[in-house]
Symmetry: C2
Subunit: 404 residues, 2 copies
């Protein structure tokens, strides 16, 4: 029965591409239209078949991690790309249509990111070994989408471009007080202090990130202008000329959007500017992928434009500009994947083979979702006053986008 | 009783500015903090006082039109500016809080813009005398927000800039088929044909606009490349490389947003680009101002970003870029007001003094709402494919924004 159900499901889903699937009983079936790179996948046991039918979004990742789904021919990105590229067109079976709605209904509970829970969720991911992140990120540990002004930009260059682009949108002048919400390992804060003369407070909930960021600021001689604090965005006090938040909004959770934008409004000076850089979802709202929520980002949620806009509209803030960065994160992830595979032995020495497969699956799933799915990056430029940001975007492009 | 109620209402509403109000019984009261330009307003009868208490959003305009609210000192823009600028901060009385919600609840009915009703609503405004529009618009009759690259741009220049900016966002090449939804008097279509070599179909529901647009195209020798048709956007067939729609979405009405974006998706070629230019409302959704709905734009509705985004997300389209044009429409309207007042005798000769006051109130109310209220203009750049639009905006600013 489970074999037939899986067959039915895959026949509907996989209209394009070519996949040979070998089942535990030795039978091999073929799916797709025969175009594209050949894929051959082996399922090792019947529990995996059943799990794939019942919770496909969770099961593919778990089976890959556990070694019960093995790719005999082709790549993991090829397999995931085939699934994502087919998903939009595919007619769905009733239980697949029902599941996202159920998940959407319960997502408010899974994103109840109150302060304690938020700290635990952050620790789950960002308190992994420092060494791990050095094995696939750029030298400044920018763990968010780069900005490829030119497709041939290196990863390091794309991350520099991103920081420069955001700094330009912030319209910094020396001495300005800047709040960096979710500062990561502190690279953005150090850049704004070093290249733009800003006084930056970076906040994070990750102890590892906090310690690293502090040490790097000291090493760079920026202690007088950059402060890092282990602090929830709901607990910051004071007023800031500028607020920047890169790759943190994905952890806020839908029930807290109002609180988040009210905090921006409260912390920003009347003529202030904020720049929120976040992954977005360009389709009907959908729940967080359950594999990602379980293994990678507990409490995370990728918002649609309407969900973010609805919270902003209630905060009293203006959206002064919205840039929709398409495919830049797919390129960024491709660089991370390449570096990860170059260092895969070191990752395995830090953890184990299952961790390697988990991380490989995570990076590959994200890459294909940004390339073939409905994910992109939003840069919201926000202000309290209608004219805090210039009335045309010429300033962003005339300067050659370089530090002043 | 009505005098006391009005007094209570105005004392709460008017925290800033200075207004002296003379009531029909001879009493004069003072409101505001005494800062700003002095205003003196006379109310001529008790019916006006009652109406102002019960339906202020409708009554101010009606009383001004009917001459029962007379501005003895200061300007209409000054009075409306004071009201709009105070509104955001003011504590509201219960019946004022209740009214917008009630109106929001019934707005779906008032925006039931099925084909016949849509045609009637359009005729109400756009089939006014051609001569009227020549008395306050630019020579190309661009009846939408200009783009002031420089604050000193003339109205005509700002309208040329607007067409150029939109053409750049459309990334036109000669021979492309373009659909212009809500083409007005046809200026955008003629520009795209003449300067970019496009083949344009412009559609409108206004017979006056259609006749004028056609005649102008013939006069300009563009008959082979521009066609105008009296046609609803729901009735267009065929495929287009590009779709442009400027200042028309305000007439679509919330219940029809899905239909509108589904039509864009259906009419656009797979690698197509659409540019939707519309007034937007940057706050919680609110019903159309009842005076505007009754006298100026029946069936009209100003959307929030979240309302538009929600419909786009369900259409399958990508938002490739969103520009938020702030204050450009306030400047545009200021130019229209200046030209209107220069030609006010001619307008009165065409209609009568009450029409003059109605039109003056309309332009002034819009101007102050764009300057002190929560209105702006959205330019949504849409596509079906994630990479139909370049991945950075450099192309928009490198070229000097000029026709190719």
């Amino acid at each position: 029965m489970w074999h037939s159900a899986l067959d039915l499901m895959l026949r509907r889903l996989l209209q394009h591409g070519q996949l040979r699937l070998s089942l535990p009983d030795g039978v091999t079936r073929t799916y797709g239209d025969g175009h594209g790179a050949a894929l051959h996948v082996q399922l090792k046991d019947n529990a995996t078949v059943r799990h794939l039918v019942l919770r496909p979004d969770l099961a593919v990742g778990e089976a890959y991690m556990n070694g019960t789904l093995v790719i005999e021919e082709g790549s993991l990105q090829g397999l995931l790309g085939m699934i994502v590229a087919n998903r939009d067109d595919a007619p769905q079976i009733w239980w697949q249509r029902a599941l996202p709605r159920l998940r959407t209904a319960v997502r408010r509970f899974s994103q109840n990111n109150a302060a304690l829970r938020a700290r635990r969720n952050v620790a789950h991911h960002y308190d992994l070994s420092d060494a791990l992140y050095d094995l696939f990120l750029d030298p400044d540990r920018q763990y968010s989408c780069g900005y490829f002004r030119d497709p041939t930009d290196t990863l390091a260059q794309a991350q520099i471009n991103k920081k420069t682009h955001i700094a330009c949108k912030l319209r910094l002048t020396p001495g300005m007080r800047v709040l960096d919400i979710g500062c990561g390992w502190g690279g953005m804060a150090r850049t704004l202090a070093r290249d733009y003369g800003a006084e930056v407070l970076g906040i994070t909930l990750s102890e590892q990130q906090h310690a690293y960021a502090q040490a790097e600021a000291t090493r760079a001689g920026l202690d007088d202008r950059v402060t890092y604090r282990l602090c929830d965005y709901r607990d910051v006090t004071g007023e800031f000329d500028r607020i920047v938040s890169v790759g943190m909004f994905e952890h806020v959770g839908l029930p807290h959007y109002r609180t988040y934008f009210d905090a921006i409004q409260d912390r920003l000076k009347p003529d202030g500017i904020a720049l929120i850089h976040t992954i977005g979802w360009m389709a009907r709202p959908d729940a967080t992928n359950p594999w990602i929520a379980k293994y990678i980002f507990p409490g995370g949620y990728i918002p649609t434009l309407s969900e973010v806009a609805s919270a902003i509209e209630r905060s009293g803030l203006w959206v002064a500009d919205l840039e929709c960065l398409r495919l830049h994160y797919a390129e960024t992830l491709q660089h991370w994947i390449t570096q990860f595979e170059q260092n895969v032995d070191k990752v395995q020495a830090l953890y184990d083979a299952r961790f390697v497969r988990m991380w490989r699956f995570y990076l590959a799933a994200c890459e294909v979702t940004f390339r073939y799915g409905r994910q992109l990056v939003f840069q919201f430029q926000l202000s309290r006053q209608i004219d805090a940001v210039p009335l045309t975007r010429d300033y962003l492009y005339q300067s050659g986008d370089m530090p002043t």
